[in-house]
Amino acid sequence: MTDLWRLAWRGLTRRRVRTLLTALGITVAVASMVIFLSLGEGIRKVFTQQLGGIGPDIQVSLTPLSQGLAMHPNMPAKAVQDISALSEELGIQSVTPVIMAVRGGLDVTQSVVLYGLPAAQGIQAVFPGTTVIQGRALQPADEGQGVAVAGAKAAQNLHLKLGSTLNLNRRNRVKVEGILAPESGLVDNFIFLPLGTLQRSEAAEGRVSLVAVKLDDPRQARAVATALAKKLDLEAATQSDFLSFLDRALKISDAVRFGISLIALIVGGLAVANTVMMGVYERIREFGTLRAIGARPAFVRALVLTESLLLSLVGGVGGLLLGLLGIWVVNVYTQRLAGIDAAALTPRLTLLALGISLLLGLLSGLLPARAASRLNITDALGRV
C-alpha cells in the first residue's frame, strides 16, 4: 500500500508544473466552496448562540414567521392586555411589547435596528445577558422621553458617544444615555429606545411589532404558543420555531451556494481527469511494462486512482487552507460591519470539503484508471 502511494506520488511529481497547476485548480474550487458554505455555517452559529440562552420564550405577532421577521408595527397594543390576562392560566412570567424599525443608509455600516420596549421593563426583560458599559440603562422615567441606549457596534458605526444626539427623523431625536458592552452578536447592532418614544417616531401609537413572552417554565413554550395562537388568533413562535425557520432558510441558501460552487468543483474535477488521463497516455508504455512483468490490471487501476486521489487531496487541503484565509477576510469585514463572524469553518464543513475533494479525485480518476488497466500490453509496448 505504501509502495502504491509512493509510486503515485512520484508519478505526479514527474510533471511538477502541470501537477501544481491542476492542484491549484482544485484548491481554488474547494476554497470557493468552503468560503461560500462557511457563510451559512457562521450565520447559523451566531443565531444558535444568540437565541439559545436569551430572548423571549415566545414571540407573538400578527404575521407568521414564514413571512419574515416581524418588523412592521401592525399589531394593536391591546394584544398585550389579552396575553397578560392569560398569564396565570398559561404560566406566563412577563409580557413585553416591542416595536422595531430599521434605520438604513447606502453604507451598510450605517444600518441599525431601533428596538423599542417599555422603559420600566428595561432591555434585560428581553435580553437578560446585556450589560451597560458606559452611562446608564433605561429607567422607568425615560418612557416617552428622547433617550436611547446603543449597542456597542451601533455606537461605533454611527460614532455615538454618551450625550450624542441621534436623529430618528426630522421631528424626533434622542440622546444617547448609555452604551452596552459588546456581545459579539446581533444585539450589538441595536439601539434601544423607550416604547413610547419609538411609537411616536414611527407614528405607530397604540401598535407594536411583536410581544415578547417569558414563561415560568420555558419547556412549555410549544404548548403555550399553540394555546396563545388559538385563543387570540395571533401568530406565536417559539425560539425553536425561529431556529428551525432560520435553519430552513439557511439550508435553501446552502443549496444555492453549493450549486454555485459545484460549477467550480466540476471544472476542477475535469482538470484532474485531464491531467491524470494525459499522465496515463504519456506513460502507456510504462503501464504496459508493469502489466508485462506481472502487475495485475487491478494494480494499475489502483495506481492511477491513487494518483487522482492524491492530487485531489493535496488540492483539497490547499483549498481548506485558502478557504480559512478567505473566511478570515470575510469575518474581518463582517465584524466591522455588524460585529459578527458571518463565516465559520466547522468540522462538518471541513469533512465535507475533504470528502468532496476525495470524491472528485475518485470520479476524475475512474476513466483514466479504466483505460490504464484495460490496455493491450502488445500495443502499449509498441512492439508489434
Binding site: G11, R291, I293, I377, T378, V384
Partner: protein, 242 residues
C-alpha cells in the same frame, strides 16, 4: 490459479529450480485482420522449448515478436495453445495471467523499459514488491542482483542517469528478480554497441546455464550463433534449425 504472493525466491546466484516448467506450444498460430483480408503473422507451430538459450532469428516483420507476444500471453493466439508446465495460458484470466507471468517469466525488452520514476534498485525490486516480499528481503535481493550485473554502485540512479548498456543490465536484473524459469528477451542488444551487447548476452547465457529456458528474439545472426538452440522465422513460418 497461481499465487502472486510467492515469497520463496532464492538468492540470485542460486541456480534456477530443478523442477522447471517446460514451455510448449501446440498448433500455435496468429492471424491479424488487415483491411478486407487477413495476414498470417504466425503459421501453426508445435514446439517444445528446451532449457538453455534459444535464438529466434528472422528479418523484421517475419513474425518473431508475434511469437514472443504469444509465448508471454500478451496476445491471444488464433489457434493453438501455449503451455507452461501443466498450465495453458489461454485458460487463465487477465489477473491469473499476470500472477503467472510474475511467478514464471522474466522479460528483457529492446528499450530497457525501466520505470523512469524509479531508481535502478527500485526497478529491480518492483516485481518483488508485486510478489509481496518484505521490504528488507527485496532490497537485499535487488542489491545482490545489481551486483551480479556489475551495477551495485548505480543502485540509486534513475534510468535517465544510466547509459543504454547499464539500463539494459538493470532490466536483466529486474527480469531475474523473481527467479523465473522462463526468460523472454526481445532484441535485448538491438540498441547497444557490440561490446555492451556482448556483456548483456553473456548475462543471458549465464541465466540459461542455470537451467532456465531463455528465448532470445534477434535479427543478428552473430548473436544468434551464440545460442544453444535456433529457430528460423520467415514470413510467419517457424523452422527449427537445430
Amino acid at each position: 490459479m497461481t499465487s502472486a504472493t510467492s515469497s520463496t525466491a532464492p538468492a540470485p546466484t542460486t541456480p534456477a529450480p530443478t523442477t522447471l516448467p517446460t514451455l510448449h506450444v501446440e498448433n500455435l498460430s496468429r492471424i491479424y485482420p488487415s483491411g478486407d483480408g487477413q495476414v498470417q503473422a504466425l503459421a501453426p507451430l508445435t514446439h517444445t522449448f528446451p532449457p538453455g538459450l534459444t535464438a529466434v532469428v528472422g528479418p523484421s516483420g517475419s513474425g518473431k515478436s508475434t511469437l514472443l507476444n504469444l509465448l508471454a500471453g500478451f496476445d491471444t493466439p488464433t489457434t493453438g495453445t501455449v503451455q507452461v508446465g501443466g498450465t495453458t495460458l489461454g485458460g487463465l484470466t487477465e489477473t491469473q495471467r499476470a500472477d503467472f507471468r510474475l511467478k514464471h517469466y522474466g522479460f528483457v525488452f529492446q528499450n530497457h523499459n525501466l520505470v523512469s520514476i524509479l531508481t535502478a534498485i527500485e526497478n529491480v525490486e518492483f516485481p518483488l514488491t508485486l510478489a509481496g516480499l518484505p521490504i528488507r528481503e527485496r532490497t537485499e535481493r535487488a542489491r545482490a542482483l545489481l551486483a551480479l550485473v556489475g551495477l551495485e554502485k548505480r543502485a540509486g540512479h534513475l534510468p535517465s542517469q544510466l547509459s543504454g548498456g547499464e539500463a539494459q543490465r538493470v532490466a536483466i536484473a529486474r527480469a531475474l528478480a523473481g527467479n523465473p524459469a522462463l526468460l523472454l528477451c526481445d532484441e535485448p542488444t538491438g540498441n547497444l554497441d557490440s561490446k555492451t551487447g556482448e556483456m548483456v548476452l553473456s548475462q543471458l547465457q549465464e541465466a540459461a546455464r542455470q537451467g532456465r529456458t531463455v528465448v532470445l528474439i534477434t535479427h543478428d545472426r552473430d548473436i544468434a550463433a551464440l545460442a544453444d538452440h535456433h529457430l528460423q522465422v520467415r514470413d510467419g513460418v517457424v523452422g527449427v534449425v537445430d
